[in-house]
């Protein structure tokens, strides 16, 4: 097998995120969110929807009496938390926390059945019914998340117990599902195990796991339709009758995956699958599968993605809809889907070494991933709208899924632990490498160590990005060494200037696939200074995006901005940006811990010319000037609830 990977990550422990925009999030996750989520997993936070997750494991292990509670996929709350802890202790060891995880792994071990099976729902609630409802009941999805946790925990601590548990479970899965005669021709309703199995393969070297992952990918969408076959066997009883109406696109089973060219159905399932397809393509040299990934990627990026990088245009099925259908106030844009898109982008970047993937990774991370978490609290958005009018969200049921405040937890709590594990592993996205190149994808104040055949190279970024335009990169090799430093020049950036040791470096003629390649002998103390100009930009959408016709979004650097009621008054739709508006970026050190705000003189409908009793009247188009102030979209709803708007009318 040819491995198609061009670039590989470095270990998380070799990247230290320092004073930067991100420190606050990294600390929030480590010091507040991870401990909080442990309390939630143990149902110890009053007033918060209980997770039941630990309790289910304790009951299934015989440590407690009781009944299973929660969703069929409740086990994943714990799995994602363990994964997050693994990343967290990789960057900052915490023996106490590690002991807690070891303790819970002991419980998991007790839950595992003699044949390797592991799932608290089926063990407690429907013994004897396992593997009867792949479409809805998420046994493989749960397995996938626990495999990810096991791999992460093993890689960080070297402890094999959870890894062995999950290898035993996977071996058992492989013994009952697969192409061989007598095995079930099944695949998961909710993709996840596919990408987890590739991780398990990479850490164990056992090709059986890669083969099983590829089997799940290739079996999907084939005829006869497995989910019909199993439903017939069950007498067509559904676990979630309310989902009966979803068609085959919902779980991406409408076509064999290699024939899929557009992003369809449940957005999280979709992107988890695309990531796995890219994984398998990379590991096996499967260029046909890679081509399918490219095709779907293009469909998402050029037709079905919000400017914030979020995806999923409708609540129904939490799904993609069609090209250019991007409504701003009824969308789903699930935080988990953004994370999945980042995972897909990250893997495509490793294969193709093209900045277009890193550009999207940055867009998603800076906008729709961190919009999902409060700046200072344990509270989370599941749905990430681009326009909110709280009264309509409350009183128009078409918008009931749009919450106007971040929530403490959710009955279906996929997003909070997903953000946690993502931000806990942020370091891995910053750099990639190959034999003779170091790629900087994200500009984050950090210190990273690279080993080139035993030669250690330290790369240090100092920057106030995304507020500031300058990034100072110190390259500190053990000894002088010839290699290429590849710096992403973001697509949003109209002008990049680079100096190496104070001397200007020609950007234009040294760009390859969006990366500025600086190839030279590097000596201790070499300094690269990068200036990425960040003018305030008005962005517009392709005219086919009906929802955004005649509207603009404010962007500066990677950050998409929004208006909030607290800064601009109510009825944000009444505001319009005039042609030639001067917008200035201004650092407000007192706002939300110090952020760059954008200000300008705009226009607003003069509502004093209206009486309360007029609903329609002949046009009298009177506007008054208004000073507007925009803040980064990712930081909205950190003060008080109110209207929010990304796409502003343009006159």
């Amino acid at each position: 097998m040819t491995n198609l990977t061009n670039l590989t990550p470095i270990a998380l422990k070799n990247v230290n995120i320092e004073e930067s925009f991100w420190s606050r999030y990294v600390e929030l996750i480590r010091d507040t969110v991870i401990p909080y989520q442990w309390e939630v997993l143990n149902d110890r936070i009053p007033g918060v929807t209980p997770s039941h997750s630990i309790k289910n494991y304790r009951i299934a292990s015989g440590l407690e009496q009781g009944e299973f509670q929660g969703m069929v996929f409740q086990d994943t709350d714990l799995a994602k938390w363990i994964e997050a802890v693994a990343y967290s202790i990789e960057t900052k060891p915490d023996p106490e926390l590690e002991k807690t995880v070891d303790g819970v792994i002991d419980i998991i071990e007790k839950v595992q059945q003699p044949d390797g099976y592991l799932n608290t729902y089926y063990t407690l609630k429907e013994p004897g019914k396992r593997w009867t409802n792949f479409r809805e009941c998420h046994e493989l999805y749960c397995a996938g998340h626990m495999i990810e946790a096991a791999v992460a925990y093993y890689e960080v601590t070297g402890k094999r117990k959870l890894l062995d548990i999950m290898c035993r479970f996977t071996d058992y899965i492989d013994s009952v599902i697969g192409p061989e005669p007598g095995k079930m021709k099944a695949y998961p309703g909710h993709q996840e195990i596919e990408l987890a199995l590739v991780k398990l393969y990479k850490v164990t070297g056992n090709e059986k796991y890669l083969k099983l992952s590829k089997y799940f990918i290739d079996e999907r969408g084939k005829e006869p339709y497995y989910f019909d076959i199993e439903a017939k066997k069950r007498g067509n009883v559904l676990h979630y009758p309310e989902f009966a109406k979803f068609d085959r696109k919902y779980a991406q089973t409408h076509l064999p995956v290699r024939q899929q060219t557009t992003a369809e159905g449940h957005a999280v399932r979709a992107v988890y699958m695309y990531r796995a397809m890219a994984d398998i393509a990379a590991e096996t040299g499967d260029t046909e599968l890679l081509e399918a990934c490219r095709c779907i990627w293009n469909n998402i990026i050029t037709k079905r993605m919000y400017i914030t990088g979020s995806i999923g245009s409708t609540e129904f099925g939490e799904s993609f809809t069609c090209d250019y259908d991007l409504p701003n106030d009824t969308n789903y844009s699930e935080t988990c889907a953004s994370i999945g898109l980042m995972l897909f982008a990250y893997r495509m970047l490793q294969i193709e070494a093209k900045s277009c993937y890193a550009d999207i990774m940055e867009k998603v991370l800076y906008n729709s991933v961190i919009s999902g978490i409060s700046l200072e609290e344990n509270s989370f958005f599941y749905v990430n709208p681009l326009e909110v009018w709280p009264e309509a969200c409350e009183k128009n049921p078409s918008k009931h899924h749009v919450k106007t405040c971040r929530q403490k937890w959710f009955g279906v709590a996929c997003c909070p632990p997903n953000i946690t594990r993502t931000l806990a592993s942020l370091g891995q996205y910053i750099y990639l490498r190959n034999n003779n190149e170091i790629f900087i994808n994200l500009y984050v104040g950090s210190n990273a160590a690279f080993d080139f055949d035993g030669q250690l190279i330290q790369v240090k970024q100092q920057t106030s990005y995304p507020w500031g335009e300058s990034i100072r990169i110190s390259v500190i090799p053990q000894n002088s060494i010839d290699f290429t430093l590849a710096l992403r020049i973001p697509t949003w950036c109209p002008k990049a200037l680079v100096k190496v040791n104070g001397k200007e470096f020609d950007v234009c003629s040294n760009i390859t696939e969006g990366y500025l390649k600086i190839k030279r002998f590097w000596n201790k103390g070499d300094i690269v200074e990068l200036e990425l100009s960040m003018p305030v930009m008005l962005m517009q959408s392709n005219p086919n995006v009906r929802a955004n016709a005649g509207r603009v979004a404010i962007q500066r650097g990677p950050l998409v901005y929004c208006l909030e009621e607290i800064d601009n008054g109510r009825n944000l739709r009444a505001i319009s940006i005039p042609e030639g508006i001067e917008l200035t970026a201004e650092f407000d050190k007192d706002l939300l811990g110090g952020i760059m705000v954008i200000k300008g003189k705009a226009e607003c409908i003069d509502d004093s010319t209206w009486t309360a009793d007029e609903l329609y009247r002949p046009l009298k188009n009177k506007t008054i000037p208004i000073n507007i102030k925009a803040i980064p979209y990712c930081l909205w709803n950190n003060r008080k609830p109110g209207e929010m708007l990304v796409w502003i009318r343009y006159k």
Copy 2:
């Protein structure tokens, strides 16, 4: 009891609609739709959702074997058809059709139970369970529609059979429900019987029916909550479990009706109830109830109504939502709700004799009632959006309720027969009268006869309204007579000119509550010439209507216009109307049988500057000129499917 009615209708048979905009609809209903719907009621149209209505009656009467099919309210398909036939044969006798109705009334008689009860669902499907589920199972709603049919058929033909059947049924209802000890404290889940009972009272003179209607109105929304009481008795089993989530506003049971000040919940239920409230207020002199009607009316008209006169901002519960929440592409705007609003307006007009009610009646009739029916076919809209992008309607489930073509029939087929009965009785809305005044509410080519104490007065309107601005009214009294002719001067009209026998009549100083009152001795051959100027107007919404900020609608006379893809190309949102646009009205005799179109030079986003792969880019605001052509909204979708837009961007 003081009767608060100021104005009363004249008999339908005394109004003859002549050569006019409406002739076509009147003939379509009489010659095509009524016969077609009889075939549908008999399940004889291949490919069309069967009604089951006649079959259920035949089975319940013992004429056929079989099982009840359809919804619990399927009986109303037949009831509304009988009512429509009654109006139709009042304006144009049809002995053959009358025989058909007599035949079906014989069947209905056989279905009636010895105690008077009449409902095919409970008789066939759940015998012994009657009156156990007022909230969902619509026995009183069905009774209401059949009472309306009975009253109409009796008034036209003098035949009492159906009237007697329904009196027997109502007497039975009155014996089991009411304030007296031992009776159920029930009221209908879906209002309708309340307004029907007032009709029954007026035709029979039996005050018991009025009292029962008032009981239903006043019992509604009281504590303890009857629908909970009955649910408990049923073991909380629901007939429609999918509706369990609707709150008490859904059926307007959240407050005693006299305390309700805003229009809430299911729009059809709401307006049927408001109409009944106005009926009861008028008949009983109940000024408190009238004040509640005024208050709710104002809330609808000034905060919750589309410019087309339609209501119901969301599909969920087919409901009102909140003030100013008027999304154009996800709304419900049910045809039946428009009809109900017209009924409410019509009754308020009779009480208050103010043109504001007739203005809305006209708006609703000319826009959102006839948008529900095809111009030449038996096909109907249930939902009346103000913006349609067919691909999104098909692929975004948030818009699945929005059909992009009129349908032949519906499983829940309330709208088609409702339009039929409304258009069949159109004549009644044109004129109202009292002892010494004749009110002209609608300008429709017609010939009407009024009896003033035995003196006959003929009023004849000749007009090409709403295309033309002139209305020529001939007043032909038997003998010279002193009375007032009151002409509605529509609010949309910036300038009205009136001549009486060629001599200008001062409009400004003779207007009372929106009606121009011409009081004089009228002689045979007197002519009133009315000129209502109809400039093409750009309309705007109150700035609180977020959905319409920066957008305008084109209106001329009572007609709201729209753009259709067939005339203006795809992507109608790309079009914007520039300041100072010249819009001209032009009669196109070849289009849709001859209609006034509106043309002008607008702007369109230049999509040639975009590549297919660009989804977002820095603003380059390039537009190109485009000739636009708008047609009346009510006539959209009479050529071929495509995009449609009412609210157009304004620059």
